[in-house]
Structure formats: C-alpha cells, structure tokens
C-alpha cells in the first residue's frame, strides 16, 4: 500500500459539476434576467402636424448631370438627281432622233420627277421614324429621371424621418425623466396636451386637451413638460418647424 498516493475518483465528475454550475449561471444571465431598459411607465409623444409634402421643391441636381446630351439629328442629304447625258445625233435621222430624243427626254424627266418624289416620300418617312425614336428616347430619359428623383426623395424622406423619430425619442426621454408620478394613477389614464415650443426648445404654452380624469396626474404631467425645458430640438430649421406644435399624449 502506497501511503503517498491518493486516488480521487471524482475528479472528472467534479469538473463536470463545476461546468454545470457555470452553465446554469450564464444561462440565468442570458435568459433569466432581462437586461433591456424598459420602463413600464412611459410617456408617448405624438406629433401634431404631419410631415409636409416635400416632393415639389426638392431639386434633383444629379439627375440633370447624368442626362446624356440628346443625339444630334442625322443629316439627311438627298442624293442629287441623275444628270441626263444628251446623245450625239446622227445626221440622217436627225429629226426623228430629235423627236425621239424629245420624247425620251420627256420620259426621262418624268421618270426623274417620279424618282425624286419617291425619294422625298422616303425621306419624310425616315425623318418621321427618327422623330418617333427621339420621342421614345426622351420619354425613357424622363422616366429614368423621375425614378431617380423619387429615389432621392425617398432617401431624403427616410433620413428626415429618422431625424424626427430621433428627436421624438429625445423629447420622450426628457419628459419621462422629469415626471413625478402621483400615487394611485390607473394604467388607463392618458392626458393629452397641446404644447407650443420655441425653436430653442422653450415651452411657450401647455394646454390640456384631454384630461386623464385624475387632476393630480394632469398636473404632474404638465409640470414634467415645463421641467423638461429646453426640449431637444433639431438644429435643422426645416425640421424644427415640425416640432413647433406638439401634441403630447402622456400615459403612465
């Protein structure tokens, strides 16, 4: 019997148990505990006015540059009518020939005339077709420009929307921080205020639009709005205009 060595049969099981304890601890951290900041009492801020229609005045600087120069109308050079070469007459039947020549000339002239006319008609048709093509092309260009404009508008809109919601959140957060809840406020209570705000964020007036039915709660909400001064306002004057009049709906 060796007195110096000790057998510890539970090494592995102890290790497994230790791992189990840590697994439990971390699963508790993951699932058992909600780390999200979520306050049960929240203030809802609703915007009084809608976003103005900005489609009309939005310029589209890129679209104009991208437009390719319209194709130059191709020059249509009408081919010159063939010159009729006079034949050298014989001495004997000069008259006859003259006559014949005359007739032939006449005929040729007529033919030339007819050819010319045909050419003219063909040219006209060609020009017409080109014009039609041109028109189709410009229509397509226009459609593309329109699409580009619409896309840019949408981007601009979404950016502004993000800004608006960001500042809405900020206002919400600021008012929420300042509200001191009176006791015994039912969860269904909702006070609506009409607030006029200066561009700097100072509150000009707070009007109670709809009482929650609990006077203490109404007063607390009003105090919170005043205490939240200056309300966070977007630096962009265009956006700030939208925040001038706010309808705040404050729910516990």
């Amino acid at each position: 019997m060796d007195a110096y060595t000790y057998n510890e049969p539970n090494r592995v099981s102890a290790m497994l148990l230790a791992l189990l304890v840590h697994g439990l601890f971390f699963s508790f951290l993951f699932f058992g505990f909600n780390w999200h900041v979520r306050s049960p009492r929240h203030v809802e801020v609703q915007m009084w006015d809608k976003l103005p229609d900005m489609k009309a005045d939005a310029p589209a600087p890129h679209a104009a540059q991208e437009l390719p120069p319209p194709a130059a109308p191709p020059k249509v050079a009408p081919p010159p009518p063939k010159a009729v070469e006079p034949e050298l007459p014989h001495k004997a039947d000069i008259e006859f020939k003259e006559k014949k020549k005359k007739q032939e000339r006449l005929k040729q002239e007529e033919e030339a005339k007819a050819r010319l006319e045909a050419q003219k008609i063909a040219e006209k048709q060609k020009v017409l077709a080109q014009e039609r093509q041109e028109a189709a092309r410009t229509a397509m260009e226009n459609a593309r420009i329109q699409a580009l404009k619409a896309q840019m508008q949408a981007e601009l809109d979404s950016e502004r929307q993000a800004q608006v919601s960001h500042f809405k959140d900020m206002i919400q957060a600021k008012i929420r921080r300042n509200i001191v809840m009176p006791p015994d406020v039912p969860d269904s209570a909702e006070a609506q205020f009409f607030v006029i705000v200066l561009p700097g964020g100072d509150v000009v007036s707070v009007t109670l639009k709809k009482s929650s039915g609990n006077a203490a709660y109404d007063a607390a909400a009003e105090r919170a709005i005043y205490k939240a001064q200056p309300l966070p306002m977007p630096p962009d004057a265009d956006l700030a205009r939208m925040f001038r009049e706010l309808r705040l709906s404050i729910k516990p």
């Binding site: 019997m1 230790a18 780390w35």
Partner: protein
C-alpha cells in the same frame, strides 16, 4: 444614439474594454477552478467522514487487531485516512515487537510516531486546495472591482467628449464594468462558503483522528 440600447449580456461583454475583458476572463477561469475544487473537496471530505465513521464502528466491534489489519491491507487504495493511521501504527508496533525490543516505552513511542506521521500526511491531503479557495474568496472581489473601476473610468472619460451628457451615455459603460464585479462575486461567494465549511469539517476530522490515535495507543499498550 438610441435612447434605448441593447444591454444584453453578450453585448455588454463584447463592448467592454480589453482590460475589463481580461479581468472577466481571469475571473471566469478562477471561478471554474474554484468550483472544481469545491466539488472535489466535497467528495473527498464526505468520503473521509463516511469511512472514518465506518472504521470506528468496525474497530470497536472487532476485538481481533490482526484480523482488522488484514482487512485494511486488502482494502489497499480504497482505505480511508483512519485505516491508514491504524495500519501504520500496528505495523510499526509489530516490527518493533519482532525485533525483540524490551523497552515498552520505546515500542509505544515508535508506534505513536508512525501514526503521527501518517496522520499529518492525511491531514495534508485533506487540506490541499483549501488555501486556493481561501485566496479566491478574498481576492476575486478585488479583481472584479478593479475591472469595474477601470470600466467606469473609461465610461466617464468618453462622457467628457460628448457635448450633451445624458445617463444613456454612461449607462452601457457602467453596466459593462459592473459585469466584472458580478463575476468576481460569483467566484468569491461560493469559495468563501466552501472554505469555511470544509475547514470546519476537516477540523472535526482531525480531532477525531487524534482521539482515535490516543485510544489506539491505549489498546496497543494493553496488548503488551
């Protein structure tokens, strides 16, 4: 910056600074080790108590020491601490007796010395790793606190670069930092509890061993 941020646990650990992450990793390692020792010691101490009780019962019920000695020999590695002490004492006693020593006191002293040596070895075995638990219990809160202080320092420093300071700017940093303290405490509390518990148990076992040694010496003295 959003007003409501993702403060899930993974997010907090991911976004912590490198030093805080190192502290967390260290604490996790220490915590794993300390829990391993906690369970290991739990099994060891329980087994020692169980075996001692069983051996004491057997010792007082069985009057034939030779018979008992052979039983213990057969047990081999499975023998408990008290059995080893008994075995060391009786084998030394038998050897001295066989040598024809006449001095009773010398024989008794030899047997007692052999028992004490085994007793000390057994105690050393039982108490191993206990000091690790004690260290973890006292130091890991400080390590966690160090991580937290560092994290909060960083959180406030980054706050200075932001014009309009809100609680939402510091909250994630502080939450990150506090994870380190939480882990330190998670490592420390069980370690302290386990240390106190096992120290007490081992103390009782050692008293039990010592009284058995005295009683067994008496039995051996009577055998002469």
């Amino acid at each position: 910056m959003d007003v409501i941020q993702d403060l899930s646990f993974v997010h907090l650990v991911e976004n912590a600074s490198v030093l805080v992450q190192l502290v967390m990793g260290l604490l996790l390692l220490v915590s794993l080790l300390s829990w391993w020792y906690i369970f290991l010691k739990m099994f060891t101490v329980r087994r020692a108590i169980r075996q001692s009780a069983a051996f004491e019962d057997e010792f007082w019920a069985n009057s034939d020491l030779n018979d008992l000695y052979h039983q213990v020999k057969n047990a081999g590695m499975e023998a408990g601490s008290m059995e080893r002490i008994f075995s060391a004492g009786i084998s030394e006693f038998a050897k001295l007796k066989k040598k024809g020593s006449v001095d009773n006191n010398a024989i008794m002293d030899g047997a007692r010395r052999a028992m004490r040596a085994t007793y000390q070895r057994e105690m050393d075995h039982l108490e191993s790793h206990l000091s690790f638990l004690a260290t973890v219990g006292s130091v890991s809160p400080y390590v966690g606190l160090f991580g937290t202080v560092w994290g909060i320092m960083n959180a406030f420093r980054s706050l200075s670069s932001v014009g309009q300071a809100t609680l939402a700017h510091v909250a994630p940093g502080i939450a990150e930092a506090l994870v380190a303290t939480a882990m330190g405490l998670f490592a420390a509390i069980p370690a302290v509890v386990a240390y106190n518990r096992y120290a007490h148990d081992i103390n009782r076992l050692s008293t039990r061993f010592e009284s058995f040694m005295e009683e067994f010496s008496n039995v051996l003295q009577r055998q002469q």
